[in-house]
Amino acid sequence: MHARQPLSKHILRLLQWLVPALVLALLAACGEQPWNSPYPPGQAGKNILYSSFGERPNHLDPAQSYSSNEVVFTGQIYEPPLQYHFLERPYRLVPLTATGMPKPWYLDAEGNRLADDADAKDIAVSVYDIEIRKGILYQPHPALAKDAQGHYLYHHLDAEALEDIDSLADFPRSGTRELVAADYVYQIKRLAYPTLHSPIFGLMSDYILGLRDYAATLREAYEERAARQSGPVLLRLDDYPLEGVEVLDRYRYRIRIRGKYPQFLYWLAMPFFSPVPWEADAFYTQPGMKEKNITLDWYPLGTGPYMLTVNNPNRQMVLQRNPNFHGERYPSEGEPGDAAAGYLDDAGRELPMIDTVIYSLEKEAIPYWNKFLQGYYDSSGVNSDSFDQAVQIGSAGDISLTPQLQKKGIRLNTAVSASIFYTGFNMLDPVVGGYSKRARLLRRAISIAMDYEEYISIFANGRGIPAQGPLPPGIFGYVGGRAGIDPYVYDWTPQGPRRKPISEARRLLAEAGYPDGRDLESGKPLVLYLDTTGGGPDDSARLNWIRKQFAKLDIQLQIRNTDYNRFQDKMLKGTAQIFQWGWNADYPDPENFLFLLYGRNGKVEHQGENAANYANPEFDRLFERMSNMDNGPERQRVIDRMVEILRRDAPWVFGFFPKQFVLYHGWYHNAKPNLMANNTLKYRRIDPLLREQKRREWNRPILWPLGLLALLLVVAILPAVIAYRRRENRRIRTEAG
């Protein structure tokens, strides 16, 4: 008869098999790579860059994508005619697919050609003729696949044909064709397409001739077609001409814009003006495609150095080298210091230099940071959680990496962003707004009291520089040093600008009619209201700090916290009094900052980006003049005057320009920050062998604590086993007795 075995023996036997099996499985699965590697063994030593995305991009259609987490993809896939020089500063536009930089020519209201130096007020139309390079091919894509007879293979798919298709990779065949000028024209027309929401449609319809009417025409045609047919509607845009855009020949197209708008060239370096082949829309608009999430918004089709081969926004997005890429070489010239920094080591090399880029979904900052330190991500930003681990600030304010990171060969790059964070006054408000001396003095007093040096130190870990005006360094018009300080808020000292003492602010406040924070007429305390977003525990310190700044002047500040949507709603209605906001530049031109205070962009009246609703006739006049000027001493003089007007009127407390901190591993090369270009991936280079070596070195599995853990478990279980045996024996003895 088979004897019953105690339970503990069963468990021990199970563990006897389970533990070695688990260890063997780990070894087998990991191969020779570190156990904690998040990547499959086959990727070890490959020329792959690893990055992440925290939020899936909403749009990858170049007509719609605008956010930074979208252009990080579209910038590598689509190629507008122009791009920014990777190394040179100040930022300079150079041709990308264009054969040269387009030079506009001008027409007056009667259609007569004007001289190149014609006065802006005489220019009715600016004409840009753009010629693109021959022989550029699109990435392989099923939308371009043809059969032997030259018919498109996948433009007439039915439900049966789509049955086994779940992603773009499921189409067995792909094709390509040459890029032609008509593709650029097609994309500009798409900006007005009824089912697309191009964020620049509003702006461009002010400039591109006929674009606004074109949208209305398309909408009408679309609705008519939609009423007649079931299923997706596709308008053939070739059947609908657009006044401001035309194809001149196979490789040349023309854009006509209203008036003079030199900044238009910057827009030509953005994905909005990239080519889209008509075949893409014909392919993606077929019935059943959208239901499978196969759309141009998810599977882009471009000519750039990379193509999106995996788009699973729920897990991973993969960019792979485009085998049809037309070729481009690493620049041979840069700014002084680039050669010493190694940024010219790859001069003349064929681009792109990285084969694959894998973006993994990473929602939380802590796992990302740990994986970066383990070598599984190639670069990382520095957030407040990891700041102390990454960066140390010396007594003289010098910034360096911590010894731990230096030992790993990690490098730090910093750059002042083309952005500004500011505190704005609603100029429509009866207390803080308006252009009276009283209101102006009140705003200036607050400007002095808000100690942004302290703010940057406390809340941004020193990552920022206090703003003396609306223009950040690196943008034409910015003036540094003594000449560039805001004389209403700062004094110049041998050590640099120093904020005026609070006594000066109190003096201004008294002069404004609020001595000691009380209204001289009514005797009541001055109560102001600040609208801001974010009310979590992390924000309470920031809000307390703001209250403290106003308290220096004995002003009572009521903070009205709200979510971003409500905040925007208040701004649109003009019900906020004081607010905090920011701006991230689209292009490196002073116009893109100063337009935030241009009267015709007033938020309340014109729904523009001028949230302060500031409207100064002289400023507006100068803005209109400055916008059309080329960079030079004259433009600088106009800008200086505009900045002076702003400093005097103080519609903003200028706040600060944030500084970007990025960490790179030693195997990551050509990491020069370029805050304007969005197609810099092609210039980057990694040393995959060094990375592999470091990963192994840094991630050797440590097993002894597991043994210790098992021992502790045994020690914890042992009393139970002893007690069990004792109890069983006692029972037997009792039974025997």
């Binding site: 909403n58 699973n312 979904l361």
Partner: protein, 325 residues
């Protein structure tokens, strides 16, 4: 039993309508269609025309619950609520507000959620019941007392601590498993090992205490005393009789969660980069994507109702005295 199931299915309809209505009201108390449009259209250069167009395309330009301008039934049917709710009852989730097909996304994201939730449930049950049995076996002894104290300590610690601590210890210090990430198929086991272990460990305190109390209640019953008096070994008594009779309350807790397993674990998925349905719902709330929120809440409600029904049915299997009528 069939009549019972049909009756319960019919009861489910008003419950689902109610849940749908509450979700709708709660969502739109916090967000307006304008807010949603702005959120989807981005932060820069959003014009009022673009907001209006976005709303019109997705049917958010209609009144929320009551259309005073319509006539007859249209006053109730020509509304956002009606438009967005009716198709749900046919399990047609439609497209998210960003244009992706929700059904396809759910189909894709349920597997990673299951890869975490199923092992956590099964291993958890094994560990919790075994531990609770052990405590019940040594009831009243110092071992029992130590075990209960340990349980209280474990249940007093936040789940987030286990996650961050586990990542720090096993991934960062010992380099044994990846910090986060996911691979489909069999390769997934490397990524689910740590979250599953943490998921199980985090539940030891509360679950073992609960199971222990169930076992103790059962151990004090007459039939156990009788069996013990007849000389049945304690282990056999516990595993054969006590466990079997304690199954009814255990099933109450387990079967009801079975259908909802694939809804995922919000925090675990988020910290371990598991692309499951838990993080899908959280993302939708953050992005103010009402289409996904409503679909996930509806699905969760249906599955919960299904879970309750399964629980009732399972009672009849475990305890022959129970009859559904």
């Amino acid at each position: 039993m069939f009549a019972y199931v049909v009756r319960r299915a019919l009861y489910a309809i008003p419950i689902l309508i109610g849940v749908n209505l509450i979700t709708f009201v709660l969502f739109f108390v916090v967000n307006t269609p304008d807010d949603m449009a702005r959120m989807h259209l981005g932060m820069k250069r959003v014009t009022p025309e673009a907001v209006q167009k976005w709303k019109a395309e997705r049917g958010y330009d209609k009144p929320l619950l009551y259309n005073a301008e319509a006539s007859g039934a249209g006053m109730l049917t020509d509304t956002i609520f009606f438009d967005k709710s009716v198709r749900l009852f046919a399990f047609d989730f439609g497209a998210s507000d960003s244009g992706r097909d929700i059904g396809a996304d759910i189909g894709q994201r349920m597997w990673p959620s299951l890869a975490i939730a199923v092992p956590v449930l099964l291993l958890g049950l094994l560990v919790y019941i075994s531990f609770a049995m052990l405590l019940a076996f040594f009831r009243g002894s110092y071992l029992d007392l130590s075990g209960v104290v340990l349980c209280v300590v474990l249940m007093s610690i936040s789940g987030l601590f286990y996650i961050i601590g586990g990542q720090y210890l096993f991934s960062k210090l010992l380099h044994l498993v990846p910090v986060s990430g996911y691979e489909p198929g069999w390769l997934a086991w490397r990524f689910v090992l740590l979250p599953v272990a943490i998921g199980v460990f985090a539940g030891i305190g509360s679950s073992s205490r609960w199971y222990r109390s169930i076992f103790l209640e059962e151990i004090n019953r007459d039939y156990v005393r009788t069996a013990r008096a007849k000389g049945l070994p304690e282990t056999r008594l516990l595993f054969r009789h006590v466990l079997k009779n304690a199954l009814v309350p255990i099933l109450t807790g387990v079967v009801v969660v079975l259908p909802t397993l694939f809804m995922g674990n919000l925090i675990l998925e988020s910290f371990f980069g598991i692309p499951g349905l838990g993080s899908y719902t959280i993302e939708a709330i953050q992005n103010q994507d009402f289409a996904i929120v409503r679909a996930m809440v509806f699905l969760g409600s249906v599955l919960y109702i299904l879970g309750l029904l399964l629980t009732d049915i399972s009672y009849t299997l475990v305890d022959p005295r129970i009859r559904l009528s």
